[in-house]
Symmetry: D2
Subunit: 282 residues, 4 copies
């Protein structure tokens, strides 16, 4: 019997970084956590314990801090591209690099009509994300948003679905539709205003979710993806994933009351998932 190494990768999982840039008293801060994975010619490390082609995860981590000093980590897409270029240049043994970044978003603290120069609050739960996949042939750039929690209390139905002997679900024309949304989109090549587009796509997702006359999560997801691709030309495709939270109306009839779609029990965890990838035809 023979076995062979089919695939391998390694790297640091959570390189945590804060950068403070100062213009007098006015500070800008940027906080992000990077996961970096190398693929390449590592067979001798696995099979014979020869580490001569293994750049330590510790070195990869140091490099993030050095390059964060030399270049700005803003935006995260360009910083990741710098890192990939650096690692590919100096590491002939590496063929693929994957850098996944999660940015913690900080807002300035409001002081009446003004914003504070150097004090911040992490107002939002969701994260801005990016994923760059670099090879000797080029770099694929994805951006996204993680864990954006949304809910609509109108314009949501679910009916006309397939029934079988185990179907007990009732059709509904008016329900609470709530989900944790994660989105990621791939950019076409070219000059991209990453931060401006990120805010625009996020807003487009929220607006199309809010306005859609939903017959199903599937239809709403597609409508959201469609809106984003129509509004933002630099995007080649978008993947949306909704973890749907059920909000069930409480049965108040045992207590002689009617629940006119008013009192609901939120599920403690998502009950189902709906995902789609929608691509621009070129």
């Amino acid at each position: 019997m023979r076995v062979r190494l089919e695939h391998s990768k390694y790297g640091p999982t959570a390189v945590r970084l804060l950068r403070v840039s100062r213009k007098g008293n006015r500070h800008d801060i940027k906080e992000a956590t990077l996961g970096i994975e190398f693929e390449g010619d590592f067979e001798s490390a696995h099979t014979s314990g020869d580490n001569s082609k293994i750049l330590p995860a510790d070195t990869i981590r140091n490099t993030v801090y050095v390059l964060a000093k030399q270049y700005s980590p803003e935006p995260i897409e360009e910083f990741s591209a710098h890192l990939i270029e650096h690692f590919l240049t100096y590491n002939a043994q590496v063929s693929h690099i994957r850098i996944e970044t999660k940015e913690q978003l900080w807002d300035r603290i409001r002081m009446g009509a003004k914003s504070h120069d150097n004090a911040f609050a992490r107002n939002v739960a969701e994260q801005r994300t990016s994923l760059l996949i670099g090879t000797r042939n080029g770099v694929e750039i994805w951006a996204g948003v993680n864990d954006l929690v949304i809910l609509k209390s109108a314009k949501s139905a679910f009916g006309g679905f397939l029934r079988d002997p185990y179907t007990t679900l009732k059709e509904t024309s008016d329900r609470v539709f709530a989900a944790t949304l994660s989105a990621s989109w791939r950019y076409l090549a070219g000059e991209i205003a990453y931060s401006a587009i990120w805010h625009g796509v996020r807003q487009s997702l929220l607006e199309s979710f809010a306005e859609h006359e939903s017959r199903s999560p599937q239809q709403t997801l597609y409508a959201m993806a469609d809106a984003v691709l129509r509004n933002f030309e630099p995007l080649a495709e978008i993947r949306l994933s909704m973890s749907v939270h059920d909000y069930d109306p409480v049965d108040l009839s045992p207590f002689g009351m009617q629940n006119a779609n008013e009192i609901f029990v939120p599920s403690s965890e998502p009950e189902s998932i709906v995902e789609a990838t929608v691509r621009r035809d070129i």
Copy 2:
């Protein structure tokens, strides 16, 4: 040998509730999770399995939904007070009731200059909280905020501290000061505008944190408590708890660079805690 029951309590831990109130297309939503604990004359249940004084946790949960239908769960302080009054009235065996509420905050989705009628995003990570402790002699009312994450990149020093043979920490006059803040405050008796005050206290905490020339977390915590008590007369006392996250400057000297307080490693978990209770002298 004899043993005796010194203390006991029970109740449902996470009663999840969403209420939608409708004025035409304009919907208001309120989402909260309640933990309810009863203390009282439960000895026979413990020692002889006689359940005749045990109102099931399931019934307590039902009651939350019934009262949420009859009364508004807005604000959470008044709703909790209704629940306590109900339970004490109909349950002679109960002497103390503790209701802890965590409200999930939802914002309307922005549509240009307007806000959407019935679509929402959970924009904030932190939670509005309340704690009511009711007995036959009255109700103590606490309100608060959980997990407000704050950071200042200026006006923070730490020096002149006690040193012993195991002290290696260096004094600093300029550091990143970051913490997860939880606050809770007790109200004096009287008519209270709970929601207005909550937003005011939250803002006062943020502003006093931002403006303080900090010599230590202890001093900043006290200054924040002091500001809140001076600004909001209905508060009797306030407890502040800061879980402090260390942001250590990266040593770039091995790479021939200077780190002028620019590149930091955020700790992956809080490193220390500082707590204080500050009370109004009456």
Copy 3:
């Protein structure tokens, strides 16, 4: 208006420690995480930014490592007592010290009939805990277990409970009873075999849970506490807390089937809590 500092405390929250002790190739490992809180004369730090009575959390952390080298951190109760003695001796400004320890339990990896000398697996989810509260007048010593998940599929009923108009729960004479158990017990003064007793109490809790003919969680909890206090003389009192997980039988009648207490839906989170403290009469 005047305000005053009512109470304050501070300290490091998660001092992580592994100690390897070697007898030739045979290694023993001990992994624990300590939270340490100081109370004392810290008013000037809060009110005027005078840090001269503040021993830094960083120094407290260093001291844990120094004392872990000098003394064994085994058992955690004695190690915590050493730390308290050290801090009280050298810190006149400190009046109370609280040290909470969570021990990660590691088992040796089995190699056929033998156990490995220096390779381990973290086989258990639960944690061994201790809590020592030290003052100038002495030390209170608590030990415990966190998050021990238990389930019995027989000998569990719940009936004869208090009913009101909102009660819909059905009585049952045969149900699944599952809970996450946390226990902590206080020792009387004297020489204690901490580790031997810990294993004994844990086993006594499991056996009394298993054997009890339960009419309610309240009754079972008390029976477990009673068994422990009868079996272990060095214990003054014990607190038990059960987070009860509901396992509801699935209604299969829509599909023409009967569910003879066979198929259940576990709740995704605990649904209720039952707690009791039982004390030895002296």
Copy 4:
């Protein structure tokens, strides 16, 4: 501009199931959580809100309970295969089904030399997993283990690695090697004793980890995979993923002490990942 649906899927995410089987007083319990995803001809649901090909997630969930009653959910691999066969038979619109199962492992409570008939403790943190991917052409069967935490305090070195200007890591010939291991393996076609093999593979992973003279995590990972494939003929390939926890020796030299590889600080989260897939040559 045109857009098109590139890919989509949906299904319930966490179908929680406990089955109690009774032979007199002797009960066996099986607890598992299933995630089920359908791919197929769902374009009309996405693009026009036609739900006629959408079997609700709620129905899929019901079906799990019905089939758990009809067949045993033991072992999880065969139960998943039954579910896939059922869904493919009755749902012409579905082309791919993916069922991921996490089994919570329960042990009988020990009563002296015997084990209890119907009382259990969840002694282990790790989970048994399976993943079945079914199409019209057949079913791929994976089994695995999640979150097995392992540590060795001897026989672990790391040296001779690639160095660049940002490398500061020191070589070591004796370190603590700790990781959270997840493994999954694909079976060849044929009759498989799933549960017996699962326990065997788990034990083989532990033993080969314990015995390996490690020059790197890469080498140990490969040695573990190699051992499993040599010992268990029904396996076609195995994927191993190690989230490596750093245990750094504490520098005690500022306190005039030497740390002879005795006192370590465990990292609060994994610091790096190493993964490999090893396949049998056929």
